[in-house]
């Protein structure tokens, strides 16, 4: 595998392979010196056209833990401001000699284009409303570590599924691993069509709450509020927020996940985030291991798969 652009490109075996690799990286991270020289001499660039802290830092940490050199490019402080095109920017960076480019862009498909332009490996770190494959992998990894197996888990993804690349990648990854996915939220924020998707859809969170093994809460995108899509934050929280009261009605061993950044009190209660069901911190920690596994797989292992 040369690039990681979409979960769509990964079959079940491939996903499992990457999760197994992540397990291995997690072991490295637990060592006294949590670093190995596996990608020594490799250069990894993060090319971020859209704001992000956790994803960018997670990738950069992953690269450094593997001994690679990292460079960062953020659109805000660069020649993009002066009008340089994506193509020229990418070509310029490539000329500096790089092995992998981690791309985040507000336009769906941008990483795919970049992959066609350059020889280096390209990793999609989020493209518009399209995909965010490493998030899906780290979520699957986190759940697998906690539950032992993802197969058969009932996962409810709650919130703005329509605009969520996390949901789009997640749905494919979960279902390939044998989990059952239900999308939950206001009809205005559900995808227009779900035919062909391996999901069920409902707008009633309370109704399904007691059946879920995992509540996967998406961030409420404030910019949607008021535009006829969401009446008010208060109303959203009343119907779809993961409150303390709702958390208490979950199965005893049900788990709560959130991709971040989260807004406490607007989609999830603080007590739930910090409570025993929450995998939120694990998700962040595991993100580094999973991204190490992806980087190693793409530019280190020598193309085993």
């Amino acid at each position: 595998m040369k690039h990681l652009l979409s979960v769509e490109d990964l079959d079940r075996d491939r996903i499992v392979e990457l999760l197994d690799g992540s397990e291995y990286m997690s072991d490295v991270l637990g060592r006294e010196i949590p670093k190995v020289p596996a990608l020594r001499g490799k250069t990894i660039v993060s090319l971020f056209y859209e704001d992000s802290t956790r994803t960018r830092l997670s990738f950069e940490t992953a690269a450094k833990r593997l001994g690679a050199d990292t460079m960062t490019f953020t659109a805000g402080s660069s020649s993009v401001k002066k009008g340089e095109s994506l193509l020229d920017t990418v070509k310029t960076i490539e000329s500096m000699g790089i092995d992998a480019m981690v791309v985040r862009h507000s336009a769906a498909g941008a990483p795919h284009r970049v992959a066609r332009w350059i020889d280096a490996s390209v990793i999609n770190a989020g493209d518009g409303r399209h995909e965010h494959p490493t998030q899906a992998l780290l979520d699957a990894f986190t759940l697998r570590r906690r539950r032992g197996d993802v197969t058969g888990a009932r996962i409810g993804i709650v919130g703005d599924v329509r605009n969520s690349r996390v949901a789009r990648s997640g749905i494919q990854c979960w279902s390939r691993l044998g989990a059952q996915v239900t999308l939950i939220g206001p009809p205005t924020l559900m995808p227009e069509r779900v035919d062909g998707w391996p999901v069920e859809v409902t707008s009633d969170l309370d109704d399904i709450l007691s059946e879920l093994d995992v509540v996967y809460v998406l961030r409420v995108q404030q910019e949607r509020i008021g535009r006829a899509l969401l009446p008010s934050l208060r109303e959203y929280y009343a119907r779809w927020g993961l409150s303390v009261d709702r958390a208490e009605r979950l199965k005893p061993d049900a788990l709560v996940m959130h991709p971040g950044p989260m807004i406490r009190g607007s989609e999830i209660a603080t007590e739930v985030v910090d409570g025993p069901r929450s995998l939120v911190r694990d998700q962040v920690a595991n993100g580094v291991a999973v991204r190490m596994a992806v980087l190693w797989d793409l530019i280190g292992s020598g193309g085993m798969a």
């Binding site: 072991d27 060592r31 006294e32 190995v36 593997l66 280190g300 292992s301 020598g302 085993m304």
Partner: protein, 217 residues
């Protein structure tokens, strides 16, 4: 180093083709036309060699008390475990046993497929102790070079020694073993196949020499 041919041979035996140096499958040694040459060790030979090595380790270190046995994946951990059991049987002391994976420390990353083979687990602080690295076959020495890097990141042992079942020659680095089961002259394209009951799905341990069909030494 030759490039990998298309895929790995599908027959179970081919997949488990012994991996000189710590378990990496080297495609050039597992070509389908590789044939059996000789049996190097029977199960009995191996048992005796292991017992002798266990004694030598204790003797060299004036007792087992400071020794930590660290096996290199894939077969090293199992051999280290056996050495520990042998030492326990005649010294009555349990020597700590660890496992080390050197994949990320190899110098041929990018030159050929490299995959991690198992977790690195060392149950004790190695600082100030005698680490005995344990592997099945010593060949180029590159695995051991990588292992030295990996071990020193875990701590600063008083000394590091090396125990191997077979030293097949062809060193590419100035590395030698302290404890050797057997010195076995080989041709570079030959393949030393170590099979252990515990991990290789065989009834009896064996070590065999395989080589290219019709090839000469």
């Amino acid at each position: 180093m030759a490039e990998s041919p298309n895929g790995t041979p599908s027959a179970a035996d081919k997949q488990k083709t012994a991996a000189p140096e710590g378990g990496f499958s080297l495609p050039e040694f597992s070509t389908p036309d590789s044939v059996f040459r000789t049996r190097v060790f029977t199960a009995e030979d191996l048992r005796r060699a292991q017992t002798r090595i266990a004694h030598e380790i204790v003797e060299r270190n004036h007792g087992p008390h400071e020794v930590v046995l660290i096996g290199l994946h894939h077969r090293g951990p199992q051999i280290a475990q056996r050495l520990a059991e042998a030492i326990e049987s005649f010294e009555g002391v349990q020597v700590p046993v660890g496992a080390l994976d050197v994949a990320f420390y190899r110098d041929d990353i990018g030159l050929r497929p490299v995959q991690p083979l198992g977790p690195t687990e060392v149950p004790v602080d190695i600082a100030g102790r005698v680490v005995v690295l344990v592997d099945d076959v010593l060949f180029t020495g590159r695995t051991i070079r990588a292992a030295l890097d990996a071990v020193t990141e875990l701590g600063r042992p008083r000394s590091i020694q090396l125990a191997v079942l077979i030293d097949r020659g062809h060193r590419e680095l100035p590395i030698r073993a302290d404890f050797v089961g057997k010195n076995l002259p080989t041709a570079e394209r030959e393949d030393v196949r170590v099979r252990l009951r515990e991990i290789d799905d065989v009834d009896e341990d064996t070590i065999e020499l395989w080589g290219p069909d019709g090839g000469d030494e």
